[in-house]
Amino acid sequence: MSKPTIIVVGNGMVGYKFCEKLLARSTQFQIIVFGEEPRHAYDRVHLSEYFNGKTADDLSLSTLSWYSDNGIALHLDDPIQEINRTEKTIHSLKGVTLKYDYLVLATGSSAFVPDIPGIEKEGVFVYRTIEDLELIKACAVNAKSGAVMGGGLLGLEAAKALIDLGISETHVIEFAPRLMPRQIDSAGSNMLQMKLSQLGLHIHLNKSTAAITGDKKIHSLKFNDDSQLAVDMLVISAGIRPRDELAKLAGLHVGTRGGIVVNEKMQTSDECIYAIGECALYEGMIYGLVAPGYEMADIVAAHLTEADKSFYGYDMSTKLKLIGVDVASFGDAFITEPDCRTILFEDTHKGIYKRINITNDGKNLLGGILIGDADAYNMLLQTVNNKIVLPPDPEDLILGSRGGEANAGAGVMSLPDDALICSCEAVTKGAICSAVNDGGVTGIDGMKKCTKAGTGCGGCVPLVKDLIAGTMKANGQYIKNVICEHFDYSRQELFDLVKINGLKNYDLVLDHYGKGDGCEICKPVVASILSSLWNDVIVKQEVIQDSNDRFLANIQKGGTYSVVPRIPGGEITPDKLIVIGQVAKRYGLYTKITGGQRIDMFGAHLSDLPLIWEELIDAGFESGHAYGKALRTVKSCVGSTWCRFGLHDSVTFAIEVEDRYKGIRAPHKIKGGVSGCVRECAEAQSKDFGIIATEKGWNLYVCGNGGSKPQHAQLLATDIDKETVIKYLDRFLMFYIKTADQLTRTATWLNKLDGGMSYLKNVIVNDSLGLGEQLEEEMQALVNTYHCEWKEAINNPSMRKRFAHFINAPDEKDPHAQFEPMREQVRAKEW
């Protein structure tokens, strides 16, 4: 007997998930998938990351071979044109006709494009597929200003994409009087608007677009109130429309405002045809999120395999980060008094708005809204869904416990076993705990493998981690912050042990305090500890150094390296600039000015590195340690020597500070900045340490961070002289080096430090631990033993020998390292 045939129309996220869910339940079906796009299913939720450097491959939900490996016939770039329900066949655009036993429509939705005169002009886009994004990207190259029509969730995502593409002037046009009217209340909208405006987004509310003007290409938007806005491009994000045209043509029942009508088993008006995802209309509602789509996919898979499962609507709670601002709405977000009681918290200084709605008896949480800080989202959502009884002071849920011992709620472990933790993959608390108890899972990676929890949108990962830790703790398993499987110590503990016992190499440390043969996690940690303690030349123990430290250069695409000589404070003579130019030319290197006021040369072959450095060192350069977890740069503004506003000489100070701390290894990279006045042109407050001139001296800031989670540096001391700045910096940096976990920047270290900034201030400024003098001495010892490791490497024949790609053909270069021309320079070939 041949297998029943299931044809899936649509290869989006939900269509893909259906195949996965069905295969997990049964292999007794022949699955055939038709996709209209040229690519196989990819992650549309994280589409905007395509602009942050993620490739189409990164976004793919599976490999192409996954389909054939599982016996699925995949037809891409071939939309279905017609369903013949009497014959039970489908016809595709490319002329394929196939018979089905069951049909699953996962056709998704398309962008709603309003009928506005001029909508067809060049420079007007929608934001749905990778192809749309590619068109937008191409257009953005020459665009200075852009607008997004629609201030909903997708519209703001699209605005973020325009900002990421470098559009300097980005507008959002919303017809309604506020942003995200479907998800958040008007006070929340106001707060969001304020935050987004501060971030440079131009927001226009109550604006109805009457026409798009311009010759062939968009020139401006004309509004009903007769105002105009000149823009180079427009992205339409005014809502979605379910793709129900195929169903309609086949005579299936569709809703008056679109959507294929389905029952609780996701069956359409033809019982052999199912509809799932954004094209399905269940009890008058379209579910435009991925989690309910996945749930629908599972219900069809269950129904086909005769398992009992039904759809009863879905929680539309959501949490996102829009242009860096947290936005969350959960449960019944809009219910108002007298049907409930509402607790509000508003902080216009920090841009935080929180609202929770509780039952009139104060026992249960009904829903709420979080803007600006949504850390509590997961726990609040669980509290709603599981009807957890609230603590006597429910305001603690959004304000945190203020004084006293009380902790808001009893935390994740108080959730019932059937609490849904990962809604994308439908994983309950019980499943997670039993993976720890019975499956021996101890970390998030293992949990992802074992239960798939956290592999969808990733929003539940913090909660899953807390549950793993909580379950282990409940079992009496001692959870220690350890380096890796080879060392049962935290970095700080191992640092002290290595120091007290005077251990000088990795094997000794492993023999004394570790087990096994080490790995790529503990080797660099120990290397960093050894270096911070003894400051020996790191290439003497090359094989325990991280990728970049091993060859004293940054490995780049194609396996070539980049070279960054130190340019302290960003000051450089014309002669030295000429040398960099000559070296780059001689070795065919691509040059770029870095964010830290120096020059990076890319594309150096491994065997050329010693030759390049020989020339640079001859000209008076030193290693810039751009490859190390070490001090990178101390950025400076022009300062009082040239600038008419400058109070003090920031360049000289920056050079002094950079020269003092150069080469010192730390748990992570360190960046500094010195500004000559309060205008702060050196952006010192975004650095690990920042020094800003005042009328009376200098202000010292610490623990700032750029990167993915930017954080402003905080004020450590005010109006201090240069010597005191150095004294505090010595103490601060050494304290950080000794106590931080590996790969933890100063900002994260501070966030985890008990007592936070006031504690740090006490240790550094008030010397509350009595460690001040010791920290200064330890730092001075490191300063005194500074060496340029490149100088050591080129002067040592056995170290120098390692800089060869082929050890049996040292003069040959890696033929795989290939370049392509780009703007009169070269770039690495794409991987």
Binding site: K449, H486, D517, C519, E520, R550, I555, G559, F806, I807
Partner: protein
């Protein structure tokens, strides 16, 4: 008759060409082979030099070590730290990637690699 593929042993390099507890790359025709001198275990391993994750010729520059209770010897690609068993070549992470492994023999201070 036994159907074995004859292994041809090539002289790859000298023992001290490969750093202790580290790797080097050798060229064999168009093939690039990573050789690891696992001094700590007194073992030698060889694998393809190409990391299949992003097609980079870099495995030989990776850190070696062991995984799990069984102390499975492994190497981590320096690009994105995908780790592979030095015994089987299988990726030890979530990915379904495999690298080729080669037998290694040491004689007279020389390293020999068995190629097909």
């Amino acid at each position: 008759m036994e159907a074995t593929i004859a292994t041809q042993w090539i002289m790859a390099c000298y023992v001290d060409d490969v750093p202790e507890n580290g790797g080097s790359c050798i060229k064999h025709g168009d093939e690039q082979i990573a050789i690891f001198n696992f001094t700590r275990r007194n073992e030698w391993y060889a694998t393809q030099n190409l990391c299949p994750h992003k097609q980079q010729m870099a495995i030989s520059r990776g850190m070696i070590g062991s995984a799990g209770e069984s102390c499975e010897p492994k190497v981590a690609c320096p690009f994105h730290k995908k780790t592979f068993s030095l015994l089987t070549g299988e990726c030890l992470g979530e990915e379904e990637l495999v690298i080729k492994t080669y037998p290694v023999k040491i004689a007279d201070g020389k390293v020999f690699v068995g190629v097909d």
